[in-house]
Amino acid sequence: MARWMFRCFFLALLPAIVWGQGGPVTVSGTVLGEHDLEPLGYATVYAEKSGRGVQADSAGFFRLTGLPVGMETLRFSHLGCDPKSLSFRLQRDTVLTVLLHHHDNYTETATVTARNAATYSEQLDLRATAQLGDALERLTGVSSLRTGTAAAKPIYDGLFGNRLSIQNNGVAQSGQQWGNDHAPEIDSWVAAYIRVVEGVEALRYAGPTVAATVLIEPAPLREDEGAAGKVAYGFQSNGLGHTLNARLSRGGKTAYRLSATGKVRGDQRTPDYFLRNTGRREANAALQLTRFHDARWTSHLYYSIFNAEIGVLRGSHIGNLTDLQLAIDREAPFFTEENFSYDIGSPRQTVSHHLLKAETEFRPNPDNRFNFRYGGQLNDRKEFDVRRGDRDDQAALSLQQWNHLLEGTWHRELGTGRHLDASLQYELTENDNQPGTGILPLIPDYNAQRGSAYLAYHHEKAAFQYHLGLRYDRQAYEAITISRDLPRRIERFDHLFHTLGGSVEARWQLTPRASLRTGVTLRQRAPQINELYSQGLHQGVSGIEEGDATLAPERSLKTTAGLVITTASTTLSANVFVQPIQDFIFLEPQPEFRLTVRGAFPLFLYRAGDALLYGSNLQAYWQPAPRWELDGRLAVVYGTNRSEGRPLVFTPPANLRLAVHFHPGRVAAGWQISLESLLVAEQGRLDPEQDFLPPPPAYALLDLALRRDLALPSNRTLHLRLSAQNLLNTAYRDYLDRQRYFADAPGRNVELQVSYAW
C-alpha cells in the first residue's frame, strides 16, 4: 500500500561494537526511532547484493547472517516506509544501532505488535474522511460492530465493547463505551498510529479488556523539525460529504502541532434509496505541545476536543416487537424520502469529548526512564428520540462522565536487550445522568475508583526472546440507583473487585527467514456497571435488559501461536488462538416475555457462563515485481457459549481482503492504482432463536483507488486521490450491522481528496 509515500529519513548509522574476523559475517543491531529511541518493531532489513532480508522483532532487533565480506548495500525500512539504502564495506561481524526518522504526515502502523504479524502500512490520512472504525477494520482480525452509518466499534478476535478497550494517546478512552451504538469519540485525522496489541504489552493498559487493546496515537513531535503544515479537503459523493482538515506544526525546544477538522455529511444512500436521517457533523480540534527541557527531560501536553452530531436512521426507531416485525418485512425502511437532505432530526446523538493529557518524562541516566502522566476526560453524551409533545429536543439519555487518570511508570534497562517496565495507576470515574430527560436512566449514576500495578520483564536478545508480565487491579464501584418499584427510592450499592492478569510470551527466530511465537495470557475482567445495573428497554433491539449485581469477574485464558516467514519479496504470517473465558458475562434471553404498556418484550438478563473463542488469521504479502504488490488477509473466528450450548452472537463471519497495488510508470512519477476486494461469508453459526432475522448472505465489495503525488518546488507536496468504495454499487447487509433489520448498507461512494503539504 503506497509504501513509497512514507518518507523515512535515515538519520544516523552508528557502528557500535565491532568484533570477529574473516569468513561470512553477521550484521545485527537494533532499529530505533530517532525521536524517543523507541524500538521500531518489525522494521525490515534487506541486503541488496546478497538478495537476503530479515524482519526485525518487536524490539527492533535484527540479525542478518552469512553475508560475504565486501561491499554491501543494506536497505532499512520500517513498516512499509520507502526503503532507504546505505552502502558500506563489510569486513567483520558488525552490530549497528540504526536511527530512523519518521516524517510527519506519515502513516499508521497496522501492527498486531505482540503477534509479530507481517505488517503493511497505509496512510491513515487517506482514510481519514471515513470514520475511525473503517481505518481499524483494515487491521487483520479486526471487524466492526456497526449501527448503520452512525457508529462502528472494533471487534478483535471476536471480542468488543466492554472486552476490548481503546487507548487514546495512552489514556483509556472513557465515556459510554458499553453501548454498542456508541462509537469511540476520536478524530480519525489526529490518529496517526493505530495498533492492536495483546499479551504482555496489553497488560500495561487500563480499561476493561480480556486480552487485547487498541492503541490510537498521534504522531510525535520532534525537536529538529521546522515549521510544516497541511491542508486536506475531501469530498464524498454518497451523502455529499465535505471534510476539511488543517494542521500546523513546528519543532524546536517547544514543539507544537495544531489540528482542526470539520465534517459535514448528509443522508447516505443505498443502491436503491436514501437512508433518511443518516447525516453527520463533526468539529474537532487538537493541540499537541512538547517541551524538550534538556537531553534528559521532556514534557508533553495534549488537549483534544471532539464534537459530533450523528443522525440515526429514522426508520430504525421502533416502539415494540410489532413495529420491528413490520420494519423487517419492508423492502425500504419506513420514512424513506425521495430526496437527499443534510437535515438531522430525531433519533440522533450528540457527543462531545474532551481529553487533556499532561505528561513528563525524565531520564536521569541511560538505564532509567520515569514517566508521570495525568489524563483527564469529560464525556458528554446526549441521545434524542422521537418523542411526544415538544420533547424531540429534550434528550432521552443525557450522561456526563468525568474521568481522571494518574500514572507513574518506570522503565529500567538491565543490559543489552533486557529491560523492566513497571507502572502504578489510579483512576477515578464519575458518571452522572443529567436531569431533565423525563425518563428513568438505563445506566445509573456511579463512581468508580481503580488502583493498578503492572510489572513486565522483557528479554529480547538474539534468536530467542521472552516477555513476562503481571498486573493487578483493584476496582471499586459505588452505584446510585433509582428503584423501579414505587415509591421511587435512591439506593446505593458498593462493589469491590480484585483482578489479576499475567502473560508469558516467547519468540524464536528459527531461521533468518522464519520465526515462531507463542503466548499465554490470563486476564480477569471486573463486571462493568451496565452488566451489574442496567435496567430498561434497549431501543433498536427491542429487548429489556437487566443487570445482575451479583456477577463476578470474568477469567480469560488466551493462548496464541504464530509463524512468520519472510523473504525478499514475500511475507507470510499465520496465527491461531484459543481463548476459554470462565464466568463470561452475556445476555441470556428469558423464556417469559415482559408485558409492558407497549406490549410484550423479550427480556434479557445478564448472566455468567462459560465461553470459548478460537480462530485464525492468515496474511500474505507478495511483491512479484517492483511495481506490483499483492496482499491478502483472512480472518476466521468461532465463538461458543458453552453454558447455553449455542454460538456467541456478534461473532464476525469469515472475511477475506485481497488487494492489488500497481505503480504505473516510474515509481518517482508518483502514480498508484489499487484494487481491493472484501469478501465476507455468511455467518452460518447462529441458532434461529438467537436473532429476529437469520444472518444475511455472503457479499463481496470492490474498492478502486487512483493516487498521484506531485512534488512541488521548495519541498511542497500535492496529494491527489480519487477512489470508489463499493464500486459495483452492491446492495448488501452485514451481519455485524445492527441496522440490518431495517435497511441495506450504503452503496457506491466516490471520493476525491486533495491535500497540500508544506
Binding site: 415494540n320 413495529d323 508521570f372 445522568n433 430527560t437 446510585i480 414505587l486
Partner: protein
C-alpha cells in the same frame, strides 16, 4: 515551562480531589411522557350499563407487573360510544394527543371470534382519523380480545384501517390487549 507544567499538574490533582468530594443523590425524573394507564370506556347508546376496560402499570416497564381490570358487562347486539384515555404519572395525556392529532392515531384490532365492529368517531386537524373517540357495535355473544394501539408519527395516507395499523409505520407508544367477553 516547567513551572507551567507543575501548575497544570496541581490543577489536575485539584480536579481529582474536588471530584471525590462531590457525591449528590441523583434527581428522580418526572416521567411525564411515560404511559402508565390505558382506559377504554364504552358508554351505551341504549339502556345497557357503562363498560370500562383498564390497564395499569404505575411503575413503568420494570418493577411490579401491570394489571388489567374490567367493570360492567358488554351486551350483545348493542351500540356504544367509546372513549379511550391514556394516563401518565403526571396525569392524563389525552390533551397532548389531541393537540398533536396529526402525529397520532389509535387503532382497534378485534380478534377473530369476537363479533364487534369499531369505527372512528373523531378526526385530526387534517380531517384524518384519530381514534380517541370511536363507535362500537356488538353482534352475537362470544369472547376474544381487543387490542388498542397508540401509534406515534404514523403515515395516515398509507392506507391503514382501524383494524390494521401495519401500513402506517410509525412507532408504538402503547399497545394493550384487553380480554373482552360479549354476553
Amino acid at each position: 515551562m516547567s513551572n507551567k507544567f507543575l501548575l497544570l499538574l496541581s490543577f489536575a490533582l485539584l480536579l481529582v480531589v474536588t471530584a471525590c468530594v462531590e457525591d449528590e443523590d441523583p434527581i428522580i425524573e418526572n416521567e411525564e411522557e411515560l404511559i402508565t394507564s390505558v382506559t377504554l370506556t364504552l358508554f351505551p347508546n341504549g339502556p345497557q350499563e357503562t363498560v370500562t376496560f383498564g390497564f395499569s402499570d404505575p411503575d413503568g416497564d420494570g418493577g411490579a407487573a401491570p394489571s388489567f381490570s374490567t367493570t360492567g358487562t358488554l351486551q350483545a347486539n348493542a351500540s356504544y360510544r367509546g372513549m379511550v384515555s391514556f394516563g401518565s404519572p403526571e396525569g392524563s395525556i389525552d390533551a397532548e394527543i389531541l393537540a398533536e392529532g396529526e402525529e397520532h392515531q389509535i387503532f382497534y384490532q378485534v380478534s377473530s371470534g369476537l363479533d364487534m365492529t369499531v369505527t372512528y368517531n373523531d378526526v385530526d386537524a387534517q380531517n384524518q382519523p384519530l381514534g380517541l373517540n370511536v363507535n362500537v357495535t356488538t353482534g352475537v355473544a362470544g369472547t376474544g380480545s381487543l387490542t388498542v394501539t397508540l401509534l406515534h408519527e404514523p403515515n395516515k395516507a398509507a392506507g391503514a384501517t382501524i383494524g390494521n395499523p401495519a401500513p402506517a409505520g410509525g412507532s408504538t407508544d402503547a399497545e394493550v390487549t384487553f380480554p373482552v367477553s360479549i354476553q
